[in-house]
């Protein structure tokens, strides 16, 4: 009771600003930053000019000044080794917190004291933060501010705006054209587990963009990063708390021209689906749980009971598409609670969207007369209703001025309910026409908890530590695939005998979790910006995965002719499966999709940061990493097969930053990194892919890939918030793992092998520029663009176990990626942004000879976002996505293997705070 009361009190405190008493003083909080690299400066003296009031900055350069008399004040910031700075024009209001960050330049760069206004100082702080992102490595980022001006509702859409980044299937990230195996994803620095059963990636569409502070994409390796970094490391940074207590509400409503209000193919839903909680209603019936049980059912009653235990849902329905909707609420601030100054942010978002693949076509080829022609093809529609729920609770506090503690928690959950319907002639049915119906429900959940500590002692010693635990779960319960066939031309589509694929139900469930602990120590030898530093640290991470998969096929040759055209729901309503009726049989399709995997990763590193000559900064070191992976596959006979990969690697890296001028710098880096096989790929057991449905065989002989990386980047910062950069990169992959098709005399299958080597070269160009600098009338316009040109080549090697074209780019690598945006800022913070993005034609999958590669055609996407402030506290947003309704197309020579259109989307939203 008392606890409940205190909770209510707390809530009241949070939501009713200033209700308790009316204070007579205000506060100033902020950070002191190094202008050169954005790093926090500790032990800097902050003083309110004309008073004796002052404090020293603590961990991360943070400071808080309390009891400031309301009015306009100036701050004087001083630190040995840096030029002092006075910031004027800070307006302090009683009972409120004012945030003011201040950047200091090293005394060698700037000797004289400077005086700047508070407004101007914000620009130079921005610049410092820009620099921070690329201080050690080569980092690109998309920030909350940029996301807010775009129509990007989730992290997967937002990250596409980062240079060199492409997103496949709407969720998996390719950086510089390298596949998902070369990208690792973390949240606030701690690795996120992968919820995908056959690939290792974190589907970024799980994260609502309103929870994000930024998405940082590191493209060059430093020893304090994870060694399996290889292509890039994506770090999702969740939002930080605002200084002032803020409550934000947002809501939006949207429509898709091809779905909303139109009759579209729809999967029947269950309770709880709206909240991403429909899996329990689709759980695997107990009668089917044991793999061997179905095969061992002997009596007809048992077989019928097993069949009847399935949910009697097979056929997609046609219903009018619902509009898209989303809302969010967040509360954040910084308040003294229990004697500690506690920063906090709690956020909850929910979205329900209807995606459509209309004009859906799919085709398979056959080689005829030296070129591929269509062997079989289908046309129809696919549609997915998705719910996404995101929750965040971050809090942090300073204990004294030397200790900063942070606790970050996040939870996201999504549910995709997909229906697909298509009709066309099928090779396996001797050219007869078939009707394919698929119902699919996928639920994903990610939770992450981190406790981090940051301790600084006399400005020279910094210790950071973190304890993190994260878990994911992906459930695909009760997928149904039904094939009806046309027995006579123009006749009805009807139940078809015998083929194992006519009625299939799949249940899969994957859990992965990890926990990690990390400790870092940084010793800055001496004072000021020129002081060299040594950094050592260690990491231990333990990951476990448990994947479960059951697939059943129902077949019957005994459905009477007259009843075959009935809907499956009628055939399975019990009329043929009651008592000892002998009509349907049920088979296990495969049990080998089940496995457990464990990985123990321990790592240590040593690196130094050595500024010299006033212009140079050399960062060098090495990381030692040992990974011990064990994959334990369950076999159809109940046995288990164990595969193992245990490697210890030394991964050196060296980076040189050269400050060419106040506004330009050059960075060069060279490193070695690695990529390890996905767990499942190590198990040499044939199994059916859960996601792709293909027969797949792992390879116990796979070794990890070693990657040598070289980067060179020139950057110019013409004005605060502006950047022009040009980078080149080169990578060499030693024994990269490629997914390949293998032909047999019968069913082809997919496998993995180590190719000999691959090379990846590219140029990245990025610019963010206010047009006012060129034409005064265009002062309100800002242009940004990033373009990456890439080239890669894979050498398969003598083994040639692949039948794919021997000389080709790596899979997924596009020759170019372009993002262009134009923003017009309005009065009172309004804006309008036009965005263009496109990816050059890339290999979706390598063709098996004699077929050409399957290419994903370029899709030109144009989006428009308008932000209109209505009042001081309310903003109206208008987002239009996919204005060209560009088609998605996979082509193989003259054949369109797969194609569809997703329709134009229009969303109207409001935001209030």
């Amino acid at each position: 009771m008392r606890r409940a009361l205190s909770l209510i009190t707390l809530l009241a405190l949070l939501t009713a600003p200033g209700a308790a008493q009316s204070p007579t003083t205000g506060r100033i909080v902020g950070r002191i930053l190094d202008a050169a690299n954005g790093a926090g400066i500790t032990e800097a003296g902050i003083q309110i000019v004309g008073t004796t009031q002052g404090t020293l900055s603590g961990v991360d350069g943070r400071f808080t000044l309390v009891g400031v008399t309301p009015g306009t004040v100036s701050l004087l910031v001083r630190r040995i080794g840096y030029a002092p700075k006075t910031v004027t024009g800070l307006v302090v209001v009683a009972g409120q917190s004012l945030q003011q960050d201040v950047s200091l330049s090293a005394a060698t760069v700037q000797l004289t004291a400077t005086v700047v206004t508070a407004a101007a100082e914000r620009g130079s702080v921005n610049e410092a933060l820009d620099q921070q992102r690329s201080a050690t490595g080569i980092v690109s980022a998309v920030t909350a501010e940029q996301i807010a001006k775009s129509p990007d509702g989730d992290a997967a859409k937002a990250i596409q705006r980062v240079s060199g980044v492409t997103v496949q299937d709407g969720r998996s990230v390719f950086v510089r054209g390298l596949g998902e195996r070369y990208t690792v994803t973390s949240m606030n620095g701690a690795r996120l587990p992968s919820p995908e059963p056959e690939k290792r990636y974190v589907p970024l569409d799980l994260f609502p963009s309103s929870l994000l502070q930024s998405i940082d994409v590191s493209k060059s390796f430093t020893p304090d990063l994870s060694g399996d970094f290889s292509g890039a490391s994506v770090d999702i940074r969740t939002r930080e708390y605002p200084t002032r207590r803020t409550v934000t509400f947002s809501a939006s409503l949207g429509a898709n021209e091809r779905a909303t209000g139109q009759s579209i193919v729809t999967a029947p839903s269950t309770d709880g689906e709206w909240f991403g909680n429909g899996a329990s209603a689709r759980a695997l019936p107990t009668a089917l749980r044991s793999a061997a049980a179905v095969g061992q059912l002997t009596s007809r009653q048992q077989v019928n009971a097993a069949i009847n235990s399935l949910r009697n849902v097979w056929t997609p329905e046609n219903r009018n598409g619902l509009p898209n909707g989303a809302f969010g609420v967040s509360v954040g601030g910084q308040d003294p609670i229990l004697g500690l100054d506690l920063g906090y942010l709690a956020s909850l978002t929910y979205a329900n969207t209807q995606d459509i693949q209309s004009e859906y076509t799919q085709a398979n080829p056959i080689q005829e007369g030296g070129r591929p022609v269509v062997l079989e093809s289908w046309a129809g529609q696919g549609a997915t209703r998705s719910s996404t729920l995101g929750a965040l609770f971050n809090t942090s506090t300073m204990i004294g001025s030397h200790t900063l503690l942070r606790l970050n928690n996040s939870y996201t959950r999504s549910a995709d309910n997909e229906a697909r319907h298509s009709i066309g002639p099928a090779f396996a049915f001797s050219g007869g026409s078939i009707e394919r119906m698929t119902l699919r429900y996928v639920e994903r959940a990610v939770r992450s908890t981190q406790l981090t500590g940051d301790h600084t002692f006399n400005a020279q010693h910094q210790i950071t530590w973190s304890l993190a635990a994260a878990a994911v779960r992906r459930q695909e319960p009760d997928r149904s695939d039904l094939v009806y066939a046309q027995f006579t031309p123009d006749g009805p589509y009807a139940w078809s005998d015998g083929n194992p694929d006519v009625a299939r139900r799949t249940f899969s469930d994957l859990r992965e979790s990890n926990w990690s602990s990390a400790l870092n120590y940084k010793w800055t030898i001496g004072e000021g910006a020129e002081a060299p530093a040594i950094k050592v640290g260690g990491l231990y991470r333990s990951t476990t995965r448990d994947a479960f998969n059951r697939q059943f096929s129902i077949l019957s040759t005994r459905v009477p002719e007259a009843d075959r055209a009935r809907r499956a729901e009628e055939l399975f309503d019990g009329r043929y499966s009651t008592g000892d009726a002998d009509v349907f049989s049920i088979y296990n399709v495969a049990a080998d999709g089940e496995y457990e995997a464990g990985e123990q990763l321990s790592a240590g590193y040593l690196m130094t940061e050595l500024p010299f000559g006033g212009r140079f900064r050399l960062i060098g070191g090495a990381r030692v990493e040992r990974a011990d992976i064990e994959v334990n596959t369950a076999l159809a006979n109940g046995g288990r097969f164990v595969s193992r990969l245990d490697n210890t690697d030394v991964l050196p890296a060296v980076i040189l930053n050269v400050r060419l001028s106040d506004r330009a710098q050059l960075r060069a880096s060279a490193s070695q990194t690695l990529a390890r096989p996905e767990y499942r790929e190590l198990s040499p057991v044939q199994y059916l892919e859960v996601v792709g449905g293909q027969i797949t065989r792992g390879n116990g002989d796979l070794v990890r890939t070693l990657i040598q990386n070289a980067d060179l980047k020139w950057e110019l910062f013409p004005a605060p918030g502006e950047v022009v950069s040009l980078g080149v990169f080169a990578k060499r992959f030693d024994r990269p793992i490629e997914r390949i098709d293998i032909s047999t005399g019968g069913q082809p299958f997919v496998s993995f092998f180590n190719a000999k080597e691959a090379r990846n070269l590219g140029v990245e160009l990025e610019a963010r520029k206010n047009l006012g600098g060129w034409v005064g009338a265009l002062e309100r316009y800002a242009l940004f663009s990033n373009v990456t040109l890439m080239e890669s080549q894979i050498v398969l090697g003598e083994d040639a176990s692949a039948n794919t074209n021997a000389d080709r780019p790596m899979m997924g690598q596009a020759p170019w990626v372009a993002n262009v945006g134009l923003t017009r800022s309005g009065d009172r913070g309004g804006s309008a942004t036009l965005l263009y993005s496109a990816v050059g034609p890339r290999i979706f999958s390598a063709g098996t000879v004699p077929y050409p590669d399957v290419m994903e055609a370029t899709r030109h996407l144009i989006d428009l976002s308008v932000r209109l402030p209505l009042t001081e506290r309310a903003e109206l947003s208008l987002d239009a996505r996919n204005l060209l309704d560009a088609p998605f197309r996979l082509t193989q020579g003259p054949i369109v293997r797969e194609g569809y259109r997703t329709g134009r989307n229009l969303t109207i939203g409001v935001r209030w705070r």
Partner: protein, 575 residues
């Protein structure tokens, strides 16, 4: 103990002494029949006999008969005990004994019967990389997919038994098979009385289709695939590429008088092995007198290659009886396929399943739509077999799956760009159709090029004889065969033969069937005679030391043949 055994020596001596004493007094009594003859199995090769000594006997004559056969004397001994050590394992023997005195022969004892013990089971755990012989005195148990590699020859003696089963120990894959790699050979030459049997490790009566994998031969002849194309099946078969060969007269050994029973295991659904998988096997390989029984996938499948074959019997397939593809160019004569009901089903829990498309012949050009057929179905070399004197008997209606397109059970399915010649055969009792030709572009091109011929054949009692006009992608309509001497009939198919059960009657376990044409059967005539039409005559030379002869009869055996070629070594087991 020692006292007792010395008594055993002394007592008969005393008896002889007593007899000798009596001799002087009266004429000796006639010899009695040895009493209480007992036969005790001592192992796989020996049986110990003992009986009560007969007064006055000087020696004993021991007769033995195998099974129900006739007796022959095998030994003469002086004591009332004998151990026969020259026996064959797992065989029933009858014994009798009589006493001998001078020229006097006493009456025979009553018969005693003994079944010799099981042969010792030798576990085969390692691949065979040096020349190796498996002897008929042992049973060889395959414990995984055993490869004969490194140019080694595996010789298997006549009468040897090889078993394989589903592995339950958690090994991957849980499948056993024998795989002979390119450059290695399998010399498995049985005899009509001592065939080499590859079968399930389960006890007779408890065997099921798909219990083990089968025999895989990988030769070095040409196929029409390009790139790397591997054996369909579990590891390590799925790492063995079988195309790219260039030696059409390659030799993979001799496979003669063998049976492969209950094979076709799968590691996962739809990836089953065939009973006999012949990948790119060359023409110097000898392949005759072989039977496949109740395999879960195809019974005989040729993937490219040129190996000839004759005297092949297929009983109860889970998929096709005779499957040829990927540029197979061998000649085949005297083939029997029998499918009855109910449907073949694997053991409960087996990941394999029967095909939805079960046919007698299923012949493809380049069969894959998924790649490595450089010109699609019409890749070269074309599939061009010569098949003569085939008896392909289906299960009749109501057994096989019926599907869209109506290909559920076709006697001869010729498709995907195949050529070839079929003659002097009979295709009967197939529920869908007797003869069907698919792929109006690729396969029709072979027909138009006069490379695809079916003639002098009886299509009897099938759902329909030919394709119907207008069916999707099918063109094997009756009008294509107007001059081909193809006759059709609706009479009951089993009556064409001397002793074959009706489709509604299950074939008994261990049955011996008589495939000779019945009196007055339509099979007795209608054949080509020795003069073969068209291009065929040039394609039948060098067939088992002669040439493939045309016959006046149809089907796999001549009317009134004195010793049917299938007698003795073939058998029909359901489990």
């Amino acid at each position: 103990m020692r006292f007792l055994s010395s008594l055993r020596v002394i007592m008969p001596a005393l008896l002889v002494l007593v007899g000798a004493c009596a001799d002087g007094v009266t004429a000796p009594d006639p010899l009695a029949a040895p009493a209480t003859l007992t036969a005790t199995t001592q192992g796989p090769r020996s049986v110990q006999l003992s009986w009560a000594a007969v007064a006055g006997a000087e020696t004993y004559e021991i007769d033995r008969a195998t099974g129900a056969g006739s007796f022959a004397t095998v030994a003469t001994v002086t004591t009332a005990t004998y151990t026969d050590t020259a026996l064959v394992a797992e065989t029933s023997y009858r014994f009798r004994v009589r006493a001998i005195r001078g020229t006097e022969q006493g009456p025979y004892s009553t018969e005693a019967t003994a079944l010799t013990g099981d042969r010792p089971v030798v576990q085969v755990t390692a691949d065979i990389t040096t020349n190796t012989t498996w002897t008929s005195t042992n049973v060889y148990q395959l414990t995984k997919v055993i490869s004969v590699a490194n140019g080694a020859t595996l010789t298997i003696q006549a009468g040897t038994k090889i078993i394989g089963g589903t592995i339950t120990t958690g090994q991957a894959p849980p499948v056993t098979a024998l795989m002979v790699l390119r450059g290695s050979r399998l010399n498995a030459v049985g005899t009509a009385t001592q065939p080499i049997v590859f079968t399930s490790s389960a006890a007779a009566g408890a065997r099921a289709p798909g219990d083990w994998g089968g025999i895989i031969l990988v030769g070095n002849a040409r196929s029409n695939r390009t790139g790397r194309t591997v054996v369909e099946g579990p590891a390590p078969a799925d790492t063995v590429s079988w195309n790219g060969g260039n030696l059409d007269n390659d030799n993979s050994g001799e496979i003669v008088y063998t049976r492969v029973e209950f094979a076709g295991a799968a590691a996962i659904l739809n990836v089953e092995l065939n009973s006999y998988s012949l990948y790119a096997v060359g023409s110097n390989t000898r392949f005759e007198y072989n039977q496949a029984i109740r395999g879960l996938d195809d019974m005989f499948e040729w993937f490219g290659g040129t190996v000839d074959g004759r005297y092949l019997v297929s009983y109860e397939a889970g998929d096709d009886h005779f499957d040829m593809a990927e540029g197979y160019r061998g000649r085949l004569q005297y083939l029997i396929a029998l499918q009855t009901g109910p449907r073949v089903t694997p053991r409960a829990g087996n990941p394999g399943a029967l095909s939805a498309e079960q046919n007698g012949f299923e012949i493809d050009g380049c069969g894959s739509a998924s790649g490595t057929c450089a010109l699609g179905f019409s890749s070269e070399p074309y599939t061009m077999p010569v098949v003569a004197n085939f008896t392909i008997l289906g299960p009749g209606a109501g057994v096989l799956p019926v599907r869209s397109g109506g290909d559920g059970g076709v006697g001869m399915l010729l498709r995907r760009g195949t050529g070839g010649t079929w003659m002097n055969g009979v295709v009967a009792r197939w529920p869908e159709s007797g003869l069907s030709m698919f792929d109006s572009t690729a396969t029709f091109a072979r027909l138009a090029a006069d490379s695809l011929d079916v003639f002098n054949t009886l299509l009897a009692n099938n759902g329909r004889a030919f394709d119907v006009a207008g069916a999707t992608n099918r063109f094997g309509t009756a009008d294509k065969f107007t001059d081909a001497n193809i006759t059709t009939s609706t009479a009951a198919a089993h009556l064409l033969f001397t002793s074959i059960p009706d489709s509604s009657v299950a074939v008994a376990n261990g049955a011996s069937l008589d495939w000779r044409p019945a009196t007055g059967s339509a099979l007795r005539s209608g054949g080509t005679g020795t003069t073969l039409p068209g291009k065929t005559g040039t394609r039948v030379n060098n067939f088992f030391g002669g040439s493939l002869a045309g016959t006046t009869f149809l089907g796999a055996i001549a009317p009134d043949a004195a010793a049917p070629w299938y007698a003795g070594w073939t058998t029909y087991f359901r489990n």
